[in-house]
């Protein structure tokens, strides 16, 4: 599938961003070099708690990275819409009259009210409930009550919705980027595409989501979750001991050879990460789904290594805050809601060609393992909130966290694309924070040069 690159023209309305010449005091930037030691594997806890760092993150990480918006199957007809967030910015994603997916800031250009208050639906116009400014699917301001009272030079074209200038699609996943000159999505993903394909490209027809989005909130910084999905197989045996026990055929937990399974962890310079066991019996997929797959066909389609690795069981994060679990069919966004709060949005993803009973087996497996009532998910949330809850302590906050597992283990292994480390490793975590730190210390597209 190709990308829908619409970065050619920055809409005129977007030229208004920052036009008021904000005083520099509103945006203080901190040099985070000393807070992330990606070589030595140490992380300062303030990056999870500090409000100034959090604000800088909104400006320099979220406002310039490719952020997951929605799945293409959520849009069938022009006017279908879905509302979400990019960082803390509210976004409307919709299909315009030409069937192009577009994304807008969900805020009226007049007095800034949240324009659309529904989570999803279908419409022809987005009309503000405050004074009635009304915008069409292309973001154009079509109607202004009492327009004659504005000055003669009032030009509706200058008051279109603020559009996300870059919206691109990778195999059903729609991403948006506020930087109109951003490197294309596929280049940013790089080798990560190979690992994503083990979930997105098993079926020539692609994937689709089943129903709505599970949403819940937990105490914790968004990076705790994003980093874990990028790099952390290590926690599985301890954190999820109870879930592994009830899932194992004996009911007593996995055999030692499964606990000690070999595997690889993909490490990306762009902050992405993906880990997966390579033991043929280390699989935790739903039985009807496992029986449905034609593994010979998949080996031809994706290659032996993909079927024996990232298609077994695994975890992954696309930097910064989109994560997925290929075997559970879970795709999710960790929406930041302040330094100490995450709103988790999780979808159920299935292959389009699956028969209904297989889709349903995948759906049930997803809900029962991951999701607010999932037997794996609950124990993750407990750990993250217990990191966050105590980190306000002055001494606690100053004691660095350890990310030293597998230092120096990254290499080209000749089988898996890009650099990989061992399954049990913090390598992708170190590179997640390295990339985060680089973005935090580099002025973004919206900053004036002298602010560097």
């Amino acid at each position: 599938m190709s990308t829908a690159d619409n970065c050619s023209s920055q809409p005129e309305a977007n030229a208004s961003i920052g036009r008021m010449d904000r005083p520099a005091e509103l945006t203080r930037n901190i040099d985070v070099s000393n807070l992330v030691d990606s070589e030595g594997g140490l992380i300062d806890r303030s990056i999870y708690t500090d409000h100034t760092i959090y604000g800088q993150e909104q400006r320099r990480v979220f406002a310039r990275s490719w952020l997951f918006l929605a799945h293409t199957s959520q849009f069938k007809k022009p006017g279908d819409f879905f509302t979400t967030f990019m960082g803390e910015d509210p976004i409307i994603v919709t299909m315009d009259k030409t069937k192009k997916i577009r994304a807008y800031l969900n805020s009226c250009r007049h007095r800034g009210v949240r324009l659309c208050r529904a989570d999803a639906g279908a419409t022809k116009m987005f009309t503000c409930t405050y004074h009635g400014w009304s915008f069409d699917l292309a973001g154009a301001l079509k109607s202004v009550p009492n327009e004659q009272a504005y000055p003669e030079d009032f030009d509706r074209n200058k008051w279109s919705l603020i559009e996300v200038p870059n919206v691109q699609i990778y195999k059903g996943l729609i991403f948006g980027n506020w930087d109109h000159a951003a490197e294309p999505l596929e280049e940013t993903l790089g080798d990560m595409r190979y690992y994503m394909d083990a979930m997105l490209d098993r079926d020539p027809e692609g994937t689709e989501v089943m129903g709505g989005v599970m949403k819940w909130e937990l105490e914790g910084n968004w990076k705790l979750a994003a980093e874990q999905f990028a790099t952390d197989w290590y926690h599985v045996n301890m954190s999820h001991a109870s879930a592994l026990m009830v899932l194992s055929p004996t009911g007593r937990g996995p055999k030692p050879e499964i606990v000690a399974t070999p595997g690889r962890q993909f490490v990306s310079e762009n902050g992405h990460g993906a880990g997966f066991p390579t033991h043929p019996k280390s699989r935790f997929d739903a039985k009807p789904v496992h029986e449905y797959y034609d593994y010979e066909m998949l080996r031809e389609r994706l290659g032996d290594a993909a079927v024996e690795g990232p298609m077994t069981t695994g975890h992954a994060t696309v930097f910064p805050n989109f994560s997925y679990l290929p075997v559970n069919g879970s795709i999710r966004v960790w929406h930041p809601k302040g330094p100490d709060k995450i709103e988790v949005w999780a979808w159920v993803l299935v292959d389009k060609s699956m028969p209904d009973d297989v889709k349903d087996a995948q759906r049930l497996y997803n809900l029962r393992t991951f999701g607010p009532s999932g037997i794996f998910e609950a124990d993750d949330g407990e750990n993250w909130s217990e990191i966050q809850a105590i980190s306000r302590g002055f001494v606690t906050n100053q004691v660095p966290l350890n990310f030293q597992m597998g230092i120096g283990s990254e290499k080209e292994d000749g089988t898996y694309p890009g650099k990989t480390s061992e399954l049990y490793s913090d390598a992708a975590g170190r590179s997640f924070y390295k990339h985060w730190s680089k973005l935090m210390n580099t002025p973004a597209w919206h900053e004036k040069k002298e602010e560097a």
Binding site: W216, E219, M245, A346, L367, P372, E382
Partner: protein
């Protein structure tokens, strides 16, 4: 029960009507007893109130434009908070017995409050019972969650006179669930 045993083929005369005060009282006591089992952490005993063919369902609720309000409650076959059988509930309960279910270790304190119970006859052996629930959870030091919602049960009258819940639909009054997990039952 006092119904005419010969009217199987005919329309059940009480269908759609509220149950009488004695049955209403027994249903309320049944629910209060159920709440006690949950608050006491006796999940295996709690499971026995359900019929073997149980369908236990908690759909998602989304904000929709008023003209599309019919879509605001998720349907069967979609993503949901719970979509369970008796077997899958048993599987969840076994997890708590493992001694390694950290999200409930130390265990939360819960109080399940049940009110607004209305029970209608469906057939000679089935009732449709609605109620409201408010579940308070207090965890560790100060963590508190309140889960509010409505519940619609299909209750079967078992031959021994006891009740068996064959279908339970939970409607959480929430869009974004204001809790880090659903590690209790409702």
């Amino acid at each position: 029960m006092t119904q005419d045993a010969t009217s199987d083929s005919k329309e059940f005369e009480l269908a759609g009507q509220l149950v009488d005060s004695e049955l209403s009282y027994r249903i309320a006591q049944f629910y209060f007893r159920e709440a006690e089992l949950l608050d006491d952490g006796r999940f295996a005993d709690w499971l026995e109130i359900f019929e073997e063919d149980l369908f236990y369902f908690a759909p998602l609720r989304t904000n929709r434009l008023r003209r599309q309000a019919a879509l605001s409650i998720g349907r069967e076959g979609e993503a949901a908070y719970f979509d369970e059988t008796k077997e899958s509930l048993a599987w969840r309960i076994r997890r708590y017995d493992s001694g390694m279910a950290w999200a409930e270790d130390p265990p939360s304190r819960t109080r399940h409050l049940i009110s607004n119970v209305t029970a209608h006859w469906v057939s000679k052996t089935e009732l449709s019972v609605r109620c409201a629930f408010l579940v308070y959870r207090n965890r560790l030091q100060t963590e508190t969650d309140i889960y509010a919602g409505g519940r619609t049960d299909t209750i079967r009258l078992r031959e021994d006179g006891s009740f068996g819940v064959a279908r339970r639909e939970l409607l959480f009054d929430a869009n974004v669930l204001q809790a880090k997990n659903l590690s209790t039952f409702f």
